[in-house]
């Protein structure tokens, strides 16, 4: 037995997880060896410390007060620090309707039927090494289940704060299952506390059953010393809709792999990504929609800004499978460069295997419009302020699509701060 396997077994034993899940880990650990790293156009991350090489350990620290004080929780919230569940609160009303929100260990013990039915069914564990390593070493996560016909008005919110005070990888899994005709709005905050050099592997699987509607918003702020593989994937059944709004505000190197599988007829995914890259960081974002179902709709809109010596790659992939008559795949990727030393890329990729479809793409990498800058400056605004205003306009279409006004404002503030810092360091 390899040392790796022994460590995984030891971890499983210590957290007393059910044997069927440990079996999955062991299998994945084996298959990982033979699998290749996933490939993404123009994103060269293979030499980053992105693989999960450390053995999983039980580390349960409480979130330090100075950080905790900065988080204002609302109702219906989950707050996790590394492997430690700080709080999970769900209103009695939602509980009475059968809504489930629980941490990963609770999910394995109390809702095995859900985990068994859905875990790694949207994201596959046998297609690449990173996914397989994730399954072998997952140490925290969240399960959300919305029963049939349940419509939740107020958003559910989660805070996942990576514990980088210890030399331990962050391997986190979220399952969000919206059952038939349900509706939910979910906001995820992914952050880092501590400055150890670590790897994060975060997988989010969203299952939108027939007729359901999921609004998924995330604000990702992983730390400078965290190298991350972030994979979010939706599995949409008939007439289901998923609205993704993702704010990539990380400080470190990251591969974002965002997919929507439009399985059911009439299913619809809207993916909106806004990203800011600063310093020397590299963010590679690969956003894909795959139309399997007839009359399915997949739209991608991603806008990003790059400063200093950073890089940002947007791949937009629209893939219409043969038989998806009437499908629609549209995408727009735009990168704005604020520095001559920054590197940006926007790659539209359309793969169309059926005739009766509509598809389109737009992509650009460019500089701030000089006419706009001149106009604003001619009213006395400094160049930096003028640039920030133009950028706000550039990111506006993505930001305003985010369902929560609060998140919009939070993201705007964060963008403003990143831009100010980036401008100072140019």
């Amino acid at each position: 037995m390899s040392e790796n396997k022994a460590a995984v077994l030891a971890f499983a034993k210590q957290v007393a997880e059910p044997a069927w899940f440990t079996d999955k880990r062991v299998t994945a650990l084996e298959t990982a060896k033979d699998l290749a790293l996933p490939r993404f156009e123009k994103i060269k991350y293979q030499r980053w410390p992105i693989e999960l090489t450390k053995d999983p350990k039980v580390v349960v620290n409480s979130l330090p007060q100075e950080k905790r004080a900065k988080i204002t929780v609302t109702d219906d919230v989950a707050l996790e620090f590394g492997q430690h569940t700080e709080m999970i609160e769900l209103s009695d009303e939602l509980k009475a309707q059968g809504v489930i929100m629980c941490d990963w260990q609770t999910a394995l013990k109390e809702h095995p039927e859900l985990v068994q039915a859905y875990f790694m069914e949207a994201v596959k564990d046998d297609v690449n090494r990173l996914n397989a390593q994730h399954v072998a070493k997952v140490t925290s996560g969240l399960l959300i289940y919305i029963p049939k016909n349940v419509v939740i008005k107020e958003p559910l919110t989660s805070y996942f704060i990576q514990d980088a005070t210890v030399d331990q990888d962050f391997v986190h899994h979220v399952l969000l299952i919206a059952d038939t005709n349900s509706e939910v709005s979910y906001l995820e905050n992914l952050q880092t506390y501590g400055d150890q050099t670590t790897t994060a592997s975060v997988i989010v699987e969203v299952f939108a059953k027939a007729g359901s509607h999921v609004k998924f918003a995330s604000v990702d702020r992983l730390g400078k010393n965290t190298t991350a593989y972030l994979n979010r994937r939706g599995h949409l059944e008939q007439d289901a809709k998923v609205d993704w709004s993702m704010g990539m505000m990380n400080d470190g190197n990251i591969v974002g792999d965002f997919d929507s599988d439009l399985i059911g007829a009439g299913s619809h995914a809207e993916t909106k990504v806004v990203a800011i890259s600063t310093g020397k960081q590299v963010q590679g974002i690969d956003t894909r929609v795959t139309n399997y179902g007839r009359h399915s709709i997949g739209h991608i809109l991603q806008h990003g800004v790059i400063l200093e010596r950073s890089s940002l790659v947007f791949n937009g992939i629209g893939h219409i499978i043969h038989g998806a008559k009437g499908a629609d795949a549209q995408q727009e990727s735009r990168v704005l460069m604020l520095s001559t030393k920054a590197r940006g890329d926007a790659n539209p990729i359309l793969l169309i295997d059926d005739n009766e479809v509509t598809a389109g793409h737009a992509a650009s990498v460019g500089r701030v419009d000089q006419d706009q800058l001149y106009y604003l400056m001619s009213r006395g605004l400094s160049k930096d302020v003028a640039e920030r205003l133009v950028i706000r306009g550039f990111l506006g279409p993505v930001l305003t699509a985010i369902p929560s006004r609060k998140v919009q404002n939070e993201l705007s503030d964060m963008i403003e701060r990143k831009l100010v810092d980036g401008q100072e360091n140019k």
Binding site: Y375, L376, M377, S378, L381, K383, L389, R392, G393
Partner: protein, 259 residues
């Protein structure tokens, strides 16, 4: 009192010389009009004064209160009191008119003393009312989707809110119907006073029926060729630019004789 003086100004765009030694002097309290046929460099003059980086000054000086401002970037010139109402204002999505104008006002004030929001909104509302602009335009994105006339009004609104010492109005009358022309003129006349001067660039005399200038300059082929009072504008309206050119014995081809 402030002064704006242009001395022997030569300006090129992409190596083509447009202004060929232009002289002009004005003070606050005065309204000057610059008239001239199309393609004669009127807009180039306004952009050069404001500091558009696309226009290269090859010779001469622009003095604001005696200080040469040619090395100053556009925002510094603006804060020093210059304003240009542009012929084609840029559209800035995502930034509301109201917040933009407030930023512009605050850019002229000390960082720790921004204008109070209450006072600002009151001023803005009154000024928009004065210009027959619905207050809803304050919350619209800057110039985005504005009609030509709305953009021009919005330029005048900014001018009135920012209160520059010198406002250059570059063909503010183009594309305006008579009602809008009156509104725009009302705005400029309201600003008249010892601390305000304006340089009005126009192709037609019509605007000058509503804003009576103190001095009229006629520009041809990159230079001022004649200076006079308001009656000069009327004469041009009657006789056209070609008449004046011939009288002055200038060998200039007018790109558009329909003045």
């Amino acid at each position: 009192m402030s002064t704006l003086e242009i001395k022997n100004l030569h300006v090129s765009i992409e190596d083509k010389e447009i202004l060929k030694g232009l002289n002009l002097k004005m003070s606050t309290g005065e309204i000057h009009a610059i008239m001239g046929p199309n393609g004669t460099g009127k807009s180039t003059l306004s952009e050069a004064i404001m500091g558009n980086p696309a226009y290269e000054v090859t010779e001469g000086e622009i003095l604001l209160n005696g200080e040469n401002i040619l090395d100053w970037p556009v925002d510094e010139r603006a804060r020093a009191g210059l304003f240009l109402a542009m012929q084609y204002p840029a559209e800035i999505p995502g930034v509301t008119n109201a917040e933009f104008i407030r930023s512009a006002i605050n850019a002229r004030r000390p960082k720790d003393d921004p204008i109070s929001i209450r006072k600002y909104l009151k001023d803005l509302e009154e000024t928009m009312d004065f210009l027959d602009m619905p207050f809803s335009m304050a919350e619209r994105y800057l110039n985005e989707g504005f009609s030509g006339g709305e953009k021009k009004r919005n330029e005048i609104l900014q001018m009135m809110m920012i209160k520059p010492n010198f406002a250059i109005l570059d063909e503010i009358d183009s594309g305006l119907d008579i009602d809008a022309l009156k509104v725009v003129s009302r705005g400029v006349n309201e600003m008249r006073g010892p601390e305000f001067g304006s340089l009005i660039i126009t192709h037609y005399q019509r605007l000058l029926n509503y804003i009576i200038p103190d001095v009229v300059h006629v520009m041809m082929d990159g230079r001022i060729v004649k200076v006079g009072g308001p009656e000069l504008a009327k004469r041009l309206e009657d006789e056209g630019y070609a008449g004046l050119r011939d009288e002055l014995g200038l060998d200039i081809k007018l790109t558009d004789d329909k003045a």
